[in-house]
């Protein structure tokens, strides 16, 4: 294991690492300030990221970033970057870490600015601690200072089958100039694609090597408040690879996976048998094994591409008690195999509908997770080795584009959605007492992506708790009494339940509050407080919802305040609601439609309007007299 080599070029050049001049060096004089970029804490004046594949298969990544600090917050935000590198196979050289202060000082980082650490994500996974992070602490920082930071990560041996990369092109700092270059030996093809941004690369040929360069000017800031990985599928990025096609990946990784699955041990087999003891149903067996691997083999959250999608043997993963997504998939497949249940692994990433497809480039670095396709008896089950079925099943995984890790596979497959319409229905009827306590019954029907089948099947307690949550969301305080399962299958769950709710706290008026059903697309929308977004918002799914509620009034009760009829249609969907007083009862009908999970940034304010309208106190409260 070679130690990372840190060169402090600047420090060596100048023992007294401070030099004083009048102000910023001329090349940085007159550069923009916070006034020019009011939402930014730092401005990238220039950034260059250059990947070079040598003729011997070794890769070098050279990075040069020049940033200007615009705010005090910016000092912290750019102050301590962590650079990941593989100590077993690479050296990291920091060529330059220099601050030009607005007062004219030049302050170079000294040796103590560079501290190697085990990444937090790997601290409990010693087998993977060849991966390190170098913390580079920038010194002499100040508002309006300019920091030059340059480093090189160089392979010490050819350890990667292909040169691949996914480079995000916009972030929380605007950039005046950003350049990405890929150099390969002449004759080696680079497949590349820009997503969500336009650009034309330049190509040059120099001494038997071909360099492709993408250059971008004036890239805007893209805020990251309440942004998910799915939202980021719409952010500008560059994907590239030297792999000739998906088959090259599939053949290589499939062989590794197959070998890893087959390498079991007596201890692993014993554990499998112990877990399966007394179980006959193939689904129960699958669920039991999956639950064990997902919950009790510790997960390692580090990019699978860093491990070149090479799993450890199933026996080793079990013995160590931890593994990354592919390790855990291998272990689960080995256990399923012993149980006589067929299973296959795919690597991939979830992509929202409408996002540009990056998998037209055969780049494995795109993939951030694995999934197992298993067939207990005749059923099809999609298993996430990192989370139990109750938390991650087909309804959460659908849309994943992935490569089955089987020999000869040459195309990307898409994990299908649950074959049922995405619908939520609540039909409830209750009788109000004079003090507004109530008692009634409800039918709740959840289908498609709304259906929590894997969360609830097999457990009456879980079912009752889920029903209490669902009904309690519509009628706060409600508790569930008797209930029955009308239908329980992966695509649909239907319950009937009786419920009652205590009288609300006595107030100035008799007010009954209602809410949206648990799981409604208009409740708990991520970051809904934001009035605008720069990236699309990806909801868990699209769907339609309908709630009908009849409240039979007590003798002498009559409605004081009833919300007015609401009907709003926007590009993202619609919301309709009516309250009516008739025949001694109040009737609520509420309908929500959000057909697509992806809400474009321009359509987001409309969705916010729908959610605001649906959740507002004036929409959800009834006052009785």
């Amino acid at each position: 294991m070679k130690a990372a080599k840190i060169l402090f070029a600047a420090a060596l050049l100048s023992l007294a690492s401070l030099a004083v001049s009048a102000a910023l060096p001329s090349q940085y004089a007159g550069t923009p300030t916070a006034k020019d970029y009011p939402g930014a804490d730092a401005l990238t004046l220039s950034e260059s990221r250059h990947f070079t594949l040598g003729a011997d298969g070794r890769v070098t990544e050279h990075v040069l970033i020049v940033q200007k600090i615009l705010t005090y917050q910016g000092m912290d935000e750019i102050g301590d970057p962590k650079i990941a590198f593989n100590k077993d196979n690479q050296t990291l050289t920091v060529n330059l870490c220099r601050t030009h202060t607005p007062e004219g000082k030049t302050v170079d980082a000294k040796a103590n600015s560079f501290n190697e650490m085990t990444p937090y994500e790997l601290e409990k996974a010693p087998a993977y601690t060849g991966w390190r992070e170098m913390v580079c602490t920038k010194v002499g920082l100040d508002v309006n200072a300019v920091v030059e930071f340059e480093y090189t990560i160089a392979d010490t041996k050819a350890w990667r089958p292909f040169l691949e990369g996914v480079v995000m092109l916009e972030g929380v700092f605007p950039a005046l100039s950003r350049e990405v270059a890929v150099t390969v030996p002449a004759g080696k093809e680079v497949k590349a694609k820009l997503l969500n941004i336009q650009g034309q690369p330049a190509t040059s040929n120099d001494g038997g090597a071909v360099t492709t360069t993408w250059t971008f000017k004036n890239l805007p800031l893209v805020g990251r408040v309440a942004v998910s990985a799915m939202d980021e599928a719409f952010a500008p990025m560059l994907v590239f690879t030297t792999a000739p096609g998906w088959k090259a990946h599939a053949d290589r990784v499939a062989a590794l996976v197959q070998k890893a699955i087959e390498t079991t041990s007596p201890a692993l087999d014993k554990k499998t048998d112990e877990l399966l003891k007394g179980l006959q149903d193939p689904f129960e067996k699958t669920s039991k094994l999956q639950s064990y691997v997902a919950q009790y083999i510790n997960g390692v959250d580090w990019p699978l591409a860093c491990f070149e999608f090479e799993p450890r043997a199933a026996a080793e993963v079990y013995e160590s008690g931890y593994g990354h997504g592919l390790d855990k998939a291998v272990l689960l497949c080995a256990m399923l195999k012993r149980a006589g249940i067929s299973a296959a692994i795919a690597a991939g990433r979830r992509l929202p509908e409408g996002a540009e497809d990056p998998t037209t480039v055969p780049c494995m670095a795109l993939f951030n997770r694995t999934v197992i396709h298993s067939k207990p008896a005749n059923a099809t089950l999609w298993l996430d080795p990192m989370a139990p079925l109750s938390e991650s099943s087909q309804r959460n995984l659908c849309g994943m584009k992935g490569l089955p890790l089987l020999p000869g596979m040459d195309e990307i497959h898409t994990l299908p959605p649950v074959d049922a319409p995405d619908q939520l229905f609540v039909n409830a009827e209750a009788t109000l007492s004079a003090d507004l306590s109530l008692e009634g019954s409800a039918t709740i029907s959840l289908s498609g992506a709304y259906s929590p089948y894997y969360k609830l099947q097999g457990s009456k307690d879980d079912q009752k708790a889920a029903l209490a949550k669902a009904i309690g969301a519509v009628l706060p305080g409600a508790t569930v009494g008797e209930f029955s399962v009308v239908r329980m299958e992966p695509g649909a769950t239907v319950f009937q339940a009786s419920f009652k709710a205590p009288a609300p706290e006595k107030g100035t008026v008799k007010a009954l509050r209602t809410g949206l059903p648990d799981g409604s697309l208009l409740s708990n929308v991520r970051g809904i407080w934001l009035q605008v977004r720069s990236l699309p918002l990806v909801l868990p799914h699209g769907g339609s919802e309908k709630v009908t509620l009849r409240l039979k009034l007590a003798d002498g009760q009559k409605a004081g305040y009833l919300p007015t009829a609401l009907a709003k249609d926007v590009a993202a969907g619609s919301f309709r609601q009516t309250w009516a007083a008739k025949d001694g009862a109040l009737d609520l009908t509420m309908e929500v439609s959000v057909p697509k999970a992806v809400v474009a940034a321009k359509d987001y304010p409309g969705l916010r309007d729908l959610a605001g309208l649906a959740n507002a106190q004036a929409s959800r409260t009834v006052i009785l007299e």
Binding site: S17, L18, P38, G39, D41, L70, T71, Y72, Q73, M75, D76, E77, D80, S113, N115, M117, T118, E123, K124, P126, A127, T129, R132, V135, T137, V139, L141, D142, V172, G223, V225, A267, K271, Q295, Y296, I297, N298, E319, S320, G321, Y322, E505, T508, V509, A511, G527, I528, W529, L530, Q531, G560, Y561, L562, D609, G612, A616, Q617, A618, S619, T621
Partner: protein, 664 residues
């Protein structure tokens, strides 16, 4: 985000100052019993410990202290896992050390299987790795042991040995010299006999040279104890059996303030420790300043006439310009402050280094009787001169024996010189004459007021328009400033939009404005202009609504941390709040012509030792006028005062959801 770094800031000085805390609680090197598993494992079952994933069956710590203070720590810990979750948690076991000042070794590990099999763990399962680090980059390392897969019912025994401390000491001299504590000849320790897991038996033994007296005291419970001696040494032993796991309560005080705790020290008194702290920094010439620093101090204080103003200007500069990021200076790291000249160039450091810069600046400005002080943020310091500190601040002598405290780590962009989040707090100043343990006085709730003045109007159709004007004092004002200046710039508007959603999910932030949050001489004022379509509920001749100010848009983890403490009916442990607080909500809500107040929510005032609440609604000049006050009067709320705190906070919450009815 300096204000969000508190925990780490404190941890830095914990590493720096807890010179008494050997990292590895290590133990007697007894081999695994040749016949099989220890007997004690038999009685530890899932049935007996239904709420535990694992149980510490036995923990023995033995510390042998040499005359120099060098300590040899042997520890044996035997843990039995009872559930799959417990087995997963013990897949790896970790021991931290600092190679600059301590030596650590895993002497042996053994797995005792439930079926009686005994499996030694191979040394190749032990990895020596750099620790993960965040904000403090001093190069600490860890031993990580990969434990063979455990099943419920299995147990693992770990035997470790260490010497030295988890801070950097002088590296000169003999092989062991670097492990000898900087306060040469002394030893101190703080040992908890309760933790996250139930403990069947735990013992702590310390063997001292016969001529080295020891001060020791047990807090929060009882321990068995024994003293013996021979010709050369005295042996002290404490133990406890059947200690349950500490229960967790939201916002409870630190475990060290509730768990059975042994504190011991060979230092005679606080003044002795104070003098040592003074000299260790002065001898290193830590606070020497250059002409450049002197010129900068003069520039910062130019035009200011009073000492207080000058010192505050220097504090503002240091706390703003020296960011929190700790890099090691090597020799002396951890217990000495970085030289001011180093901080001036680096513009980075941990709490002690930022304090060092301020001391240097003060001295350059002529305030020569300025010294570092050790404090303990977040927990008590028992009155025994063991290191129980996690933070470093500045004390300047403004009159003989009279000090003023400054905390540059806690005061970036703050008009305060000493954070109201640190009242009360224990501290020891490192002065030439030696100081006793002292305590900062508590802050009255009114110091930390936050005032929301709402000026709004409701339309006949229920639409609301208006503005909120926010001002505050001390802790509250500082947190408001940090919202604006110590958060990513792109996120500030979103944060304010999030605040407004407490009004209604339909609320729209129309604009916001504030005084300059960096300028501490101008009181902060934030104005939010908003509108909310359909806010009120008009029906017939009436209209129901909740006054906007009562909805407390400032509910977040820093400003209203006390809300998180309100859970069940009772509390077992005291509550730790960030600061005392006073919330003042004032509303003038203009209503459509002809409307009058007909039903106001009940507002039964609450008064108590921990908290007060009151609320009042009136009509005045055609407007609905609200006046509401919540005062959290104790920073550490005794469990006995919980009912009062709950009553006051619940009253505020109720008032924020209750409907007021107007009629025309």
């Amino acid at each position: 985000m300096k204000h969000s770094l508190r925990t780490l800031a404190l941890a830095a000085f914990a590493a720096a100052c807890l010179t008494t805390m050997p990292w590895a609680q290590a133990a007697a090197q007894k081999p695994a019993p040749p016949g099989g598993a220890p007997e004690a494992l038999k009685g530890v079952t899932a049935e007996k410990y239904p709420d535990a994933d694992a149980v510490i069956v036995n923990e023995d710590v033995r510390v042998d202290v040499e005359a120099s203070g060098l300590s040899h720590v042997n520890k044996t810990q035997l843990v039995k896992v009872l559930t799959e979750k417990g087995a997963a948690e013990y897949a790896t076991v970790r021991f931290d050390y600092d190679p600059a000042s301590s030596f650590a070794e895993v002497k042996g590990m053994t797995v005792f299987r439930a079926d009686g099999a005994v499996e030694p763990i191979a040394p190749t399962n032990v990895y020596d790795l750099p620790q993960p680090q965040e904000m403090i980059y001093w190069g600490p390392r860890m031993k990580v042991v990969s434990v063979p897969k455990l099943d419920p019912g299995d147990a693992v025994e770990v035997r470790t040995y260490s010497k030295g401390f988890v801070i950097a000491y002088l590296a000169d001299g003999s092989q062991d010299e670097k492990y000898i504590p900087p306060m040469r000849g002394h030893y101190y320790d703080v040992v908890l006999f309760q933790g996250d897991l139930p403990i069947v038996k735990k013992s702590y033994t310390i063997v001292l040279p016969k001529d080295k007296p020891l001060r020791a005291e047990v807090f929060h419970g009882e321990l068995g104890s024994m003293v013996s001696f021979d010709d050369t040494s005295i042996t002290y032993k404490w133990w406890k059996e059947n200690a349950p796991a500490l229960e967790e309560e939201p916002r409870m005080v630190e475990p060290s303030d509730v768990a059975t705790k042994l504190v011991l020290a060979t230092v005679q008194s606080w003044p002795e420790k104070s003098r040592w702290f003074y000299h260790v920094n002065e001898d290193a010439n830590t606070f020497a300043y250059t002409d450049e620093i002197k010129a900068k101090a003069a520039e910062i204080t130019q035009g200011l006439t009073t000492d207080d103003d000058k010192r505050q200007a220097l504090l503002a500069w240091v706390s703003r310009q020296i960011r929190y990021s700790g890099i090691s200076m090597g020799k002396g790291e951890g217990y000495t402050l970085h030289p001011g000249t180093m901080d001036f160039d680096d513009r980075a450091g941990v709490c002690k280094d930022i304090a060092g810069m301020l001391i240097t600046m003060f001295r350059a400005a002529g305030y020569t009787n300025t010294y570092p002080a050790m404090t303990m943020a977040g927990a008590k310091v028992e009155n025994l001169p063991a290191d129980q500190f996690n933070h470093c601040v500045v004390a300047t002598e403004i009159a003989p024996g009279q000090y003023k405290l400054y905390d540059p780590t806690w005061c970036p962009f703050s008009p305060e010189i000493w954070s109201s989040a640190e009242k009360p707090q224990n501290y020891v100043i490192g002065s030439p004459r030696g100081e006793e343990l002292m305590e900062t006085p508590p802050a009255p709730a009114s110091d930390n007021f936050i005032k929301l003045v709402s000026d709004s109007a409701i339309a006949e159709n229920g639409d609301l328009t208006g503005s909120f004007t926010l001002t505050g004092g001390a802790y509250s004002e500082t947190n408001l400033r940090w919202t604006l200046v110590n958060s990513p710039a792109y996120s500030v508007r979103g944060t304010l939009e999030q605040w407004l959603t407490a009004l209604s999910p339909r609320a729209e932030l129309l604009s916001y404005d504030s005084t300059d949050p960096v300028n501490i001489k101008v009181p902060l004022k934030v104005v939010l202009k908003f509108r909310v379509p359909g806010y009120a509920m008009p029906y017939g001749k009436e209209m129901a609504l909740t006054p906007p100010a009562a909805k407390n848009i400032l509910s977040n983890r820093r400003l209203t941390d006390f809300i998180a403490a309100i859970g069940g009916k009772d509390r077992k442990y005291d509550i730790f709040l960030r600061a005392t607080r006073e919330f003042l909500f004032q509303e003038t809500l203009r209503v459509p012509q002809g409307y009058r107040l007909v039903k106001a929510p009940e507002a039964k005032a609450v008064e108590g030792a921990a908290a007060d609440w009151s609320g009042k609604l009136d009509m005045k000049d055609g407007a609905l006028v609200l006046s509401e006050r919540l005062a959290i009067k104790e920073k550490i709320v005794p469990a006995a005062h919980y009912a009062n705190l709950k009553d006051a906070v619940d009253s505020m919450k109720r008032y924020g959801t209750a409907l007021t009815v107007l009629s025309k």
